[in-house]
């Protein structure tokens, strides 16, 4: 088997604060294959965004990557000098953020920002390339939009421009951090359809960071469910929804409202833990219906529970029957 496109191994991020050190990412490992769609799912503070930033080495000080490795196309990004890293960020993979307004430059036109991202030293008209990219991301009236500034665009159009900028480098991997969270539902559906279409066209791999299991269900191949800085469960998407093997995943699925099924909601009691001074044991134990004494001591192993399916839980045997319905 060939090496994966991206291999993240035991990644750790710490953020010192006046109250103590926030352990934002606590030993995250996963791989992404070429052309694959992979989702990092979790609620606020689960560490999903920070994991993404750490992969690109875009953790803002005083936050710092305190351990682990990121192998992309055979190179360890953790050891790469900043200059080479810059090249990979621009070419090999790119990130699309939740809020395009703050990611775009407010004083440059759309054309200038796309042109800036285009590779140097090729014989073509930068303007034609920019125009072509705007067409591909479905911007209406692209000739006029080239001269527009970000504030003149709607939220959905800004996200399309972000995608055009991302595609300018023909990346092998696209990281999308909640790309549709700030958008209305009909616009969200448009942007998601666009991302899927572009991904096929360009043969890119995609890491989608999201809190929305509904989006995950429709878009991805594999899912990692994150909680308190760790991956709690990792599985193929169909497997995860049909046979969840972690209590948090079961709780998350039970919390999602549905327009189709008239089933009662099953909320997870309690709130996520403070990431400062996390003790040993499972961070979900205080909210877990299956938890017993052994859950709050020692490290919880990431156990293999099925084909490509892993769960960080001591009670996976009990869960198999519980989640059957």
């Amino acid at each position: 088997m060939s090496a994966p496109l991206l291999a993240v191994e035991d990644l750790r991020v710490e953020i010192p604060t006046p109250r103590g050190i926030v352990q934002a990412v606590r030993g995250v490992s996963f791989t992404v294959e070429r052309g694959e769609t992979f989702a990092l799912v979790g609620e606020s503070g689960s560490g999903k965004t920070m994991t993404c930033r750490a992969i690109l080495r875009l953790v803002h000080p005083p936050g710092r990557i305190s351990g682990g490795s990121v192998i992309f196309q055979g190179r360890n990004l953790a050891r790469l000098p900043e200059r080479d890293l810059e090249r990979i960020r621009g070419g090999g993979f790119v990130m699309v953020f939740q809020d395009p307004m703050s990611a775009l430059n407010p004083v440059l036109t759309v054309e200038a920002q796309i042109a800036e991202a285009l590779p140097w030293g090729r014989a073509y008209s930068r303007r034609d390339r920019a125009l072509d990219l705007l067409r591909r991301v479905g911007i209406p009236d692209p000739e006029r939009r080239l001269r527009a500034y970000p504030h003149q665009l709607s939220g959905g159009q800004r996200q399309r421009v972000m995608l055009a900028i991302a595609l300018a480098r023909q990346p092998a991997l696209l990281l999308a951090d909640e790309p549709t969270t700030a958008l209305d539902v009909t616009i969200q559906a448009q942007i998601l359809r666009l991302i899927v279409a572009l991904q096929k066209e360009y043969g890119m791999a995609l890491i989608l960071v999201t809190h929305d299991l509904g989006v995950v269900y429709h878009m991805v191949d594999r899912v990692a469910v994150m909680y308190a800085g760790q991956i709690m469960e990792l599985a193929a998407k169909d497997d995860l929804f049909a046979r969840p093997r972690h209590p948090y995943t079961i709780g998350l699925i039970g919390s999602v409202p549905s327009v189709d099924r008239n089933r009662p909601l099953v909320p997870i009691p309690g709130t996520p833990p403070d990431l400062i001074g996390l003790g040993p044991g499972c961070p979900f134990a205080p909210r877990c219906a299956w938890a017993s004494n052994e859950c709050s001591t020692g490290d919880i192993p990431f156990v293999h529970v099925g084909d490509g399916h892993w769960s960080r839980c001591l009670k996976t045997d009990l869960l198999e029957t519980a989640a059957g319905g």
Binding site: A189, S255, P257, S258
Partner: protein, 335 residues
Amino acid sequence: MAEPLLEVRDLVKHFPLPHTLLDAALRRRPETVRAVDGVSFTLGRGKTLGLVGESGCGKSTLGRCILRLYDADRGEVRFDGVDLMRVTEGGLLPYRRRIQVVFQDPYASLNPRQTVAKTLLEVLDVHRIGSPRERGRRVAQLLTQVGLSPGDGHKYPGEFSGGQRQRIGIARALALEPELLIADEPLSALDVSIQAQILQLLLDLRASLGLTMIFISHDLRVVRYLSDEVAVMYLGKIVERAPTAELFARPQHPYTIALLSAVPEVGGAAREEIPIEGEPPSAVRIPRGCRFHPRCPWTIARCLQESPDLKGILPGHTVACHVAEVRLAVGGPPP
């Protein structure tokens, strides 16, 4: 039939844009944002109306007009038989007690420099409810009612998580034992697992207190759990209204169908889908004829000329669409 608790008739609220140089040069009146553009509905006691639509459709403005946080330009807001639009500012206090609101951002709507107990006491003080000692007891009771402990009263809003803050926002709204509760996107700022908790709390409170509610949300999934009836808004108007189960089973307006098809569902049954392209036009330049026609896949000539009225096409089910009427009559797919 008993008199409805709330009756809104032809409500209109336009916001004028700033007077521009161009306006002056052309000697015309400044343009207006037609946020609420003729909305009517009634709401029976103990019922919950879900008000759904995307940003800019006017759902929040409508809620604020009912609360008289905005003064509407035209129309009537009859609450328990009294037109609130004609009540003077001084005469509103008793109605402010009977109609309460929960906002989206629980942090922005709580005073960060006041303990939670003080915030709740203030509400009781303003409306002179009970003796000082009774007020203290009531605060403890309210906190318990929303799933916090009486001891939490000594803390400041900053010491709570988002979900807990929303519980405080709900406690404050319930302090005056309102008859009508307007909840404006109360779940939107919360994480999924916390959202489900607050949704459950609202369901429990409504059952135990017999509240009448207007639940404003952009999320059809959430609305389904709380509402007896759902009204879908687009660019300042209600385009479809039906009992909840009916609306989800047999949506008639193309915009409702489009909204339902855009919801990313876990699982999800087969249903008619309309993927819509384009974005809603600005509420400053509302299209002539049917306001949805530029994005509508069903458009016929009539839609460009004539704005459709809300018409009853099935029992309890009203729709503002020229094509839906015909479509229902012939029982076929769109023309």
